[in-house]
Chain length 498, copies 2
């Protein structure tokens, strides 16, 4: 048996990587295939591997259970079958497994820990210098963000006209048509992408990977359906075993004029077929939404469609699609010329809270001009804005809640949320958000027979003020500032006596 | 001939008041009538008068032309006919006549001077103390406002539970049903209302008179249709001759549960029949609009229907109704508990500019809590807010324009206005408004063959900055603040050379 390499120990939700030698004649990327079957007492999974250059074939596997696993690797890449076993100790600290949909409109890690996305966008941060790659990770580690949207391919757009250090495909053979050979990947390019995914995972950040996008001068957005499908499969096989991967079929799918609905359906099903872990899948719009009710779409990744109504429609979209709603593009904090990228920190923070009290989630981005022409939304590096600190306050608040939220009908001039799915009176909590309004006070009629602790939140100044435990009718005096919220939390009899 | 009184000289658009003695038996308010015919070389008008108590009948007339007028007064109030003549010298300084619709979507005084409404609301300012009556007029005289909405009847609502000093109707006769005799007006009450209208006229402010409203604990909102019609007629005959009168059938007509569409139609037609000057007529909504296409309605007096979209719909409403749009209730600057009354000065100013660039007009109100519990929106007195100074800046800018505005389609992230009705390239001016967005610059492609002077407006800090004359492509650097606008004014060849 020719030698192959594997890891003798892989923590639960870690990555087992098995590297096997194989054929290198012809075009190994498309002429040969490699598969592995992984077996433990609790699961058996068949996964497809990929060619990684230099005559090496790789199968990656993410164990979902502790204990002993065995594997068998075979395929046309080699006459041989490779087999062995490895141990899976408990998950590393702070590792909770891949994120999945929970409670219809929300998310949880595989171990049941709730996941409340507070995402950001840095489209091609991984294609900048090593220094920016490092500083972006450093910034993210100290930020409130637990998800980042970024592209596989390089990006051509305002403030981003530099050439990437490497390309995802080999140049076309001399004399053949086109610039690239879309059937031959550059393994190094994808290893770098993986490095980004892995580093993000280490700091607890989900990698929302944008597979296609229209901001392209190289032709990567204009492959044929066959080429695209091969590329989607390659990504699923290379990256699927990383627990923090999310799939985004495209950014602004509707701007990709060469793709049809049939194409997108085929790409979604390709991911479903080759991703053994069934990571989250979305598709992001410019103007018209894709039909988010399609079964392969797990959640709505939304760019707001109107200038004046953005996350205020979150609860409408929840009803329309019956899935979690993340308004990943609500506009960005910044000061560039474009209206989507010159919002105040106050407005971004307000839009996040509007999404939140309507039972959904927001997404951040930052586009401040600077002398270095390094804009977070495209390049990463460091944050300059005022919203991230407020999003940290929001995330802390969200994670302190006993359950995720849904919108309740309240008065016309307040947004009211309560525990997802709660029916009847005396919910465990109520959250009232006043957005751009500035009440000096509000009167509350608390549910009969229940006592509530009243907390006044200043979502901009990031303060929480305990106003004591109340029953019946209560007037809450407020500071007549924008962006205030009132949180009512039910307390039991014991707490009432305190 | 019994003596009657009249004025020997009445300036054009002033008020001739002819007082005649007549019968006082029975109920003169409804048993007798008085009419006058006024004749000059340019016009002849028949007007109905009213009973003013103490056996006196009054006919008022507003001459629309200079020169000599004759009159004949007759009716069932007296066996006699009263006749005479008077001279009409030119209008007093700053008097331009009544406001009428002009250019379909705008307004002009009778002498053709453009009128750009910048209105406010003080529902019952005239029913407060004499001191507040005086201070309100003093405040208005120094304010940007050239229109005020207020009610005929007293108001019962939050922050306004005091009893008025007088009532519009006589108490019911002992033993009869109800508290009031709706067939007998208190002339003093209406004389006080007239004093308010006259004082407003003296300082150049249009009196937008709200005839019915639902905030009522006295029963004035629940008269029968017959009683209402008599009351509308009485108002038309008493007040119609004042040039600065506008009729508002109701505030929040849809909350007046006792009135039907047939009632409102009858009231609108009553005003048309008894107001010889055909003053402007509107009807104001709480939620659903009245059908503003009705022929007796001259313009749309709108309360915004949604929390998040307000004056952003101005151009939509223009198209829908084909008439001038005044968003008289877009929400108020203040800090009371209600969402309609706790907006920032910034937001009110922004909503005014949104209305403006979409070819319509805004309306102001102010609801700041204070120890005296005197809120401008209800009582008048003094202004506390930050928007009035900005509305003065807006009004100055509007009055500097060569023509009123309509919206042009621009980029999705800017609101663009140009001269009303302009077709084709190279309009006399363009106004770009950036609202809550903060561009650091914007690029403009100026119409070919024309030069434009570029002015940068900071609508909040109230500055205008001349950026010179340009042709072709021009980049306008902006300060990356909210509420900026760019005004492009076409200049002729001579100016270009300067």
């Amino acid at each position: 048996m020719t030698s192959h390499t594997f890891l003798p120990n892989v923590a639960k939700w870690g990555v087992q990587e098995i590297i096997c030698p194989g054929k290198s004649d012809g075009n190994p990327f498309q002429d040969y295939e490699i598969r592995g079957i992984f077996t433990s007492p609790q699961e058996q999974k068949e996964v497809t591997g990929f060619y990684d250059g230099n005559g090496q074939y790789v199968v990656r596997f993410m164990p979902s259970f502790e204990g002993h696993y065995t594997y068998q690797i075979s395929g046309s890449f080699s006459q041989e079958t490779f087999a062995g076993g490895f141990d899976v100790p408990p998950a590393e600290p702070r590792v909770h497994g891949p994120v999945q949909v929970a409670d219809t409109f929300h998310f949880a890690y595989a171990d049941g820990t709730r996941y409340m996305p507070v995402g950001t966008t840095c489209y091609v941060w991984h294609l900048q210098t090593d220094a920016i790659f490092a500083s972006t990770l450093h910034t993210l580690a100290a930020s409130p963000f637990n998800k980042i949207r970024f592209c596989v391919f390089p990006k051509h757009y305002d403030y981003n006209h530099n050439e990437p250090a490497a390309y995802p495909f080999e140049p076309a053979a001399p004399g053949s048509e086109g610039r690239w050979d879309f059937s031959r990947y550059c393994p190094e390019y994808f290893r770098h992408l993986e490095k980004a995914v892995i580093r993000l995972g280490e700091i607890g950040i989900e990698a929302d990977i944008i597979i296609l996008h229209p901001y392209d001068r190289w032709g990567f957005s204009q492959m044929t359906r066959e080429e695209d499908i091969r590329y989607f499969r390659y990504l699923a096989c290379r990256l699927g075993a990383f627990r923090n991967v999310w799939w985004s079929l495209a950014n602004e799918y509707d701007i990709l004029a060469h793709k049809s609905a049939e194409d997108w359906e085929a790409y979604g099903l390709t991911l479903k077929a080759y991703d053994p872990y069934q990571h989250l899948i979305s598709i992001h719009n410019c103007i018209p939404f894709y039909d988010h009710t399609r079964p392969w779409i797990t959640h709505c990744c939304i760019q707001r469609q109107q200038l004046h109504l953005t996350t205020e429609l979150t609860d409408t979209w929840r009803k329309q699609f019956g899935k979690p709603v993340i308004v990943d593009e609500m506009g960005y904090e910044g000061d560039i010329q474009h209206g989507w990228g010159n919002l105040t920190g106050e407005e971004i923070t307000r839009r996040f809270w509007e999404a939140t009290v309507r039972g959904g989630y927001g997404g951040h981005g930052e586009t401040y001009l600077n002398e270095q022409k390094i804009l977070w939304w495209s390049h990463g590096d460091v944050l300059h804005g005022h919203s991230p600190a407020r999003l940290a306050f929001l995330r802390d608040f969200l994670e302190s809640l006993p359950a995720p939220m849904m919108r309740l009908d309240g008065s016309w001039d307040e947004m009211v949320a309560t525990q997802e799915g709660w029916q009847g009176d005396a919910a465990p909590f109520y959250l009232y958000y006043y957005s751009f309004m500035r009440p000096s006070f509000r009167d509350f009629q608390l549910p009969e027979g229940a006592a509530y602790r009243v907390t006044v939140l200043d979502t901009w100044n990031m303060t929480k003020e305990d106003r004591g435990i109340h029953t019946g009718q209560v007037r809450v005096v407020l500071p007549a500032r924008c962006y205030m919220a009132v949180y009512l939390e039910k307390v039991d009899a014991h707490q009432q006596e305190e």
